[in-house]
């Protein structure tokens, strides 16, 4: 790999994905070019079914691209997966119901062969980080949706990945909880300096979190616009009151409306 591509946490060049099924083929992604610098925070926003999850799943080596190239930290997604360089947070918390909160968080470490004591300690630290230190012995169903999603984040963070792939992690939460978790995510990201790919349907969430926003349109799924978010970090509650924040929200909304119009 060239030294240049090493600087990108995530990179897709002319990425295409076609799903073939009995009902007909779907071009989920076409000519997608995307670059996220290491330590960057990229949000993806676009109408439902435009291929956001497919893009994220391509990076997480859960979907094989049909055309184009894709890399995570300059490696093939399969290599990056084997090297445990990324953590995935799914659209649903995706916790194992038969395991306690702690044992859900230790799962990736268990897979890596980390000894029990170390992995329990690390998991406990991760739970501290997401504010759930006292719930380690609970089972997932004893937690609210927001708490479960925080456990999922703790699990993704447990292996200390340099890349986080998050598919609408807060999609199912109410606005207040979502705002709180956004703040938490910013705090965590500040400490980790990980590269984050973040899918969302919320314009304000995208503006609040990202250093860059990719707007997508569907059929075929493609990126129609890239918007830089030049708001100062660290972001906090005051960020949402800045006039620039509103300007950006308006700009993203316009881009999203245009992208949706393309779909027709």
């Amino acid at each position: 790999m060239s030294g240049e591509s090493q600087n990108f946490g995530l990179r897709a060049t002319q990425l295409g994905k076609r799903f073939s099924s009995k009902g007909g083929d779907v071009q989920a992604l076409e000519n997608v070019d995307l670059e996220v610098k290491q330590g960057g925070f990229m949000s993806i926003i676009g109408p439902s079914g435009c291929g956001k999850s497919t893009l994220l799943r391509a990076f997480s080596d859960l979907v094989e691209p049909s055309t184009g190239e894709i890399s995570v930290n300059g490696k093939l997604p399969s290599e990056a997966r084997a090297a445990r360089e990324f953590g995935v947070v799914f659209q649903s918390p995706n916790l194992l119901p038969w395991r306690t909160v702690l044992r859900n968080v230790t799962l990736p470490l268990q897979v890596m062969g980390v000894d029990r004591q170390t992995r329990n300690q690390t998991a406990q630290e991760m739970l501290d980080l997401v504010g759930l230190e006292s719930f380690s012995r609970h089972h997932p169903w004893q937690l609210s949706g927001g708490m479960q999603q925080r456990v999922a984040i703790a699990r993704a963070l447990s292996t200390n990945p340099s890349v986080l792939l998050m598919d609408e992690p807060f999609g199912a939460l109410d606005e207040i909880t979502r705002d709180r978790l956004n703040l938490e995510l910013m705090r965590i990201w500040g400490n980790l300096s990980a590269t984050i790919l973040f899918i969302t349907h919320s314009i304000t969430e995208a503006v609040f979190l990202s250093s860059q926003i990719a707007v997508m349109s569907s059929r075929p799924g493609r990126i129609t616009e890239l918007i830089d978010v030049n708001l100062p970090y660290p972001r906090n509650t005051e960020t949402r009151d800045l006039p620039e924040f509103y300007e950006l929200v308006i700009e993203v909304r316009r881009a999203l409306v245009e992208a949706s119009a393309l779909t027709a």
Partner: protein, 272 residues
């Protein structure tokens, strides 16, 4: 009334009706049972039916108490045969289901066979078992295994065939085969295995006793019932039948307790 208050009231009435329901579940069958025994007792006495034909419940009960030690020993042996059969049959069925669940055509083929086998009166095969194992306890165990295996296979195979987002999770963390099995595949199949056991375990007692009618160890419920009935010891037969029922209830309770313990994380257990 505020919403909180009205919620509380509905909750209270809910628990009340629930309590009444639970009481009814116990009370109604008990009343029926007592009534049934009373009519039986009275009918036998009034009609002056011979003990040889139909003893009264009270005679059966006193025989049951008198022979309790012996009956317990018989039930223990029958229970052990049934238990071994369930164990062997389940292990074979679950391992087989686990091995073939990735191979669609093989799984499908075995499933059709197990569904058919489930419906067949497999106990009729007992004489064949005695050809292989002799008229021994082993033949009974083998018979139970054969009877139980198709049930367990069907359920386990359904448990293994499930897929969920958890599979994506396992892949994303590059879980190896062993972790995938122990952390996901087996626990995910567990509710199905337990459902299978709820059917298989009571059935195993039935199969054991019927097989024992034909032979095997002499010190079992089935052998005892058969021997005493040829001697026209009707009261002994009935007391052994009572013991067989007790055994059936016991294993059912045991499975339910296991079920509750293993599936305490399961959504159907949340409210308990």
């Amino acid at each position: 009334m505020t919403t909180a208050e009205s919620n509380r009231v509905t909750e209270e009435t809910d628990t009340k009706t629930q309590k009444n329901l639970r009481l009814g579940v116990v009370l109604t069958p008990t009343l029926f049972f007592v009534a049934f025994l009373t009519i039986w007792e009275l009918a036998v006495r009034i009609q002056d039916i011979q003990v040889l034909l139909l003893p009264t419940p009270s005679t059966i009960w006193s025989k049951f108490v008198e022979d309790f030690g012996l009956l317990l020993e018989l039930a223990k042996n029958t229970g052990i045969e049934a238990g071994k059969g369930v164990l062997i049959g389940s292990i074979i069925a679950i391992s087989l289901a686990g091995l073939v669940h990735g191979i669609k055509w093989l799984n499908q083929g075995l499933l059709s066979y197990s569904s058919t086998l489930k419906a067949l009166p497999t106990v009729a095969l007992f004489p064949v078992m005695t050809v292989f194992f002799g008229v021994t306890s082993k033949a009974v165990v083998a018979m139970v295994s054969v009877g139980v295996a198709p049930i367990m296979f069907t359920f386990a195979s359904r448990g293994f065939s499930g897929t969920s987002e958890h599979d994506d999770l396992m892949r994303s963390i590059s879980a190896n085969w062993r972790t995938r099995m122990t952390a996901l595949v087996l626990p995910r199949a567990l509710p199905y295995v337990m459902a299978g056991l709820r059917t298989a375990v009571p059935l195993s007692i039935i199969i054991s006793i019927i097989s024992e009618y034909f032979g095997g160890s002499v010190s079992t419920l089935g052998a005892y019932i058969r021997r005493e009935s040829t001697l026209l010891h009707t009261v002994q037969v009935w007391s052994a039948i009572v013991m067989a029922c007790v055994l059936g209830v016991l294993v059912f309770v045991a499975v339910s307790l296991l079920d509750r313990y293993f599936l305490r994380w399961h959504s159907s257990r949340r409210e308990i």
